[in-house]
Point group: C2
Amino acid sequence: MSGAFAFEVVASCGRARSGRFTTPHGTVPTPAFMPVGTKATVKGLTPDQLRATGTGFVLANTYHLVLRPGTALVRELGGLHRFMAWDGPILTDSGGYQVFSLSHLTRVDEQGATLRSVIDGELVELSPESAVDAQRDLGADVMMALDHCPGDPTDRVEVERATARTHRWLERCVRRFESSASHGEPQALFGIVQGGAFADLRARSVEAVTSHDLVGYAIGGVSVGEHESAMELAVDAAAPLMPTEKPRYLMGVGTPRDFYRAVRAGVDMFDCVTPTRHGRNHQVHTSLGRMNLRNSVWARDERPLDPDCTCATCTNFSRAYLRHLCNSGEILAGVLLSLHNVHFFQHLMERLRRAIASGTLASLEHEFVVALQQRAAPDGPHTSGADGAAAHDATRADS
Amino acid sequence: MSGAFAFEVVASCGRARSGRFTTPHGTVPTPAFMPVGTKATVKGLTPDQLRATGTGFVLANTYHLVLRPGTALVRELGGLHRFMAWDGPILTDSGGYQVFSLSHLTRVDEQGATLRSVIDGELVELSPESAVDAQRDLGADVMMALDHCPGDPTDRVEVERATARTHRWLERCVRRFESSASHGEPQALFGIVQGGAFADLRARSVEAVTSHDLVGYAIGGVSVGEHESAMELAVDAAAPLMPTEKPRYLMGVGTPRDFYRAVRAGVDMFDCVTPTRHGRNHQVHTSLGRMNLRNSVWARDERPLDPDCTCATCTNFSRAYLRHLCNSGEILAGVLLSLHNVHFFQHLMERLRRAIASGTLASLEHEFVVALQQRAAPDGPHTSGADGAAAHDATRADS
């Protein structure tokens, strides 16, 4: 692994592994969860608050930053780390996911994609080369190759075509990456495996993508739509074939339940808008399942959101107060609930890492599932069942 | 001064004085500025962030908390300090200001006021007695007597009537206060001087109000409407007549310019929604005057908001980044700008206190005025002129 980047597996348990991913902005233990800072801010949280949740890596969305304030401006101002005052590692996506999710605004051909700006309707060109250039401007530690997400992961013809294009685009990304230089600290490029819900296509995609010697590789196209079984299939088919000595990143996933499945298959990195978007919508994730803070059952409840949580929200505030903030439409509601949710996700990652090290991953997962089932009833309307379903509002930009 | 409360003047400079106001939740140096936490939250800021701005006292609005979540519920949950996790001193208003500002929803007679709830249209009774009871429920360190604000401070007939009623209501508040007990720590009652823009009526009101031996006294009815000269007149007429050994609180004021004027007349305490409301509206107060962060002139500006400021916003972020957050409608914009504005106000209070101690108040004020005039031009479109005018969006609830 080249220069400023290193990945080391420090413990494993079945296919699950715990490791250390080193970047120019620090070392992050894996499995790692990256909160989404779409427009160069993880919504509502200051860098200090974010750090206190145990967050190492942060993700930002290239497409949104191309639109505003423009990546050239971010470069001029010293890059994304300085711009958003985050001195830890940052990963930027390539905009490929937005080509898919904003498909009604997009024209895609072999050259690349043309998107209409959601801000002013202007046309924005996105190609493998411009995606690399934009991410050079941003200066994130890890940049992603431009991929082509198939619209329907179960449509074999569409998936084959999109996957082949993803491989051709990766060649072009690698060429551009190798012929360009960082404007500051060294950067790494990750390639993205496609292949939809087909094990053989995933395997072929792993082969094509890993034929490039990159710092890490991602599994894409699985947070898309309502294909939960496609996610499992894709992860099970791809992860075990990916190089053991490189980090494996499952894009746009997800919820606690998803993390167990994916970690078991050997995934090391995740990102998702869930904790912050749910927080703004008054939904919290706890060791007892999910809670909707608008529910009147919490009106007189003096307990913290989660008795097992040590975050600033749970340390200081009651459910009754947080419900009052939600009902009053207060900014602080979204801030405090997002803070708790991100902390909860990071704490879960920590528990996963410890369980891998001590060989107790299976019992941790069992405990998690049992807790959701058993504790939902006596403690009020925790909606544990919704936890899996929530994977699927897991888009990759938090807006 | 009774028991848990004490006020001590430690330095003076002309009529201006610097002091220490002790409450059951700590001692606050004066002149003191209280940010407004209308619904038991200073909008967007956590208690930790608020403390880091140098804030001691926080104000909350009784009327809003009566409507939601209800003061009985707050009492049940251990009082306002515990509810909102603010362990410093809290002052609650009586709802009198809302009787005035929501006059289209209000019927007032000698008994008290009946307001329609802005939430559900239900009728809410507010009397001198119920205002005390509600504030006993909330458990703030300082509660305010119910007053009757005249609609037009220059209409002598109306002002005389409202002022006389304020005095009769104060008698009833004092009786209720003395015949009731706190549910927790000791509480103090402040009376409110009315009298509009008439020096003789202000003088008579001071006499009537201070005939009750209370912990402190306030000047009311001056943040109302567009009567800037009425504010000066009222403060100049009332403050010098108020007992020197008790804190003097000017309600609902204001901006930096107002503070100089009022402190010169001997005022010790202020509250205003300005720093948080302006922050959410992308306006910041700086040592160079006011700035509108939406202005494109800041798009590439790497400097902090205020070169003289040590707040977390100025320490970490550029004007260009903050402008990006404002333009993107990000929650963090309101949070970071509110934080800066509150810090700026608290830092100004600190400078006022030091200037009083060192006898340099006049030169500090001169420096402030000159800075606004001289530095506005070269540094960009600081709108120093708007600083005075801003006093008059200074309502007493931040919503």
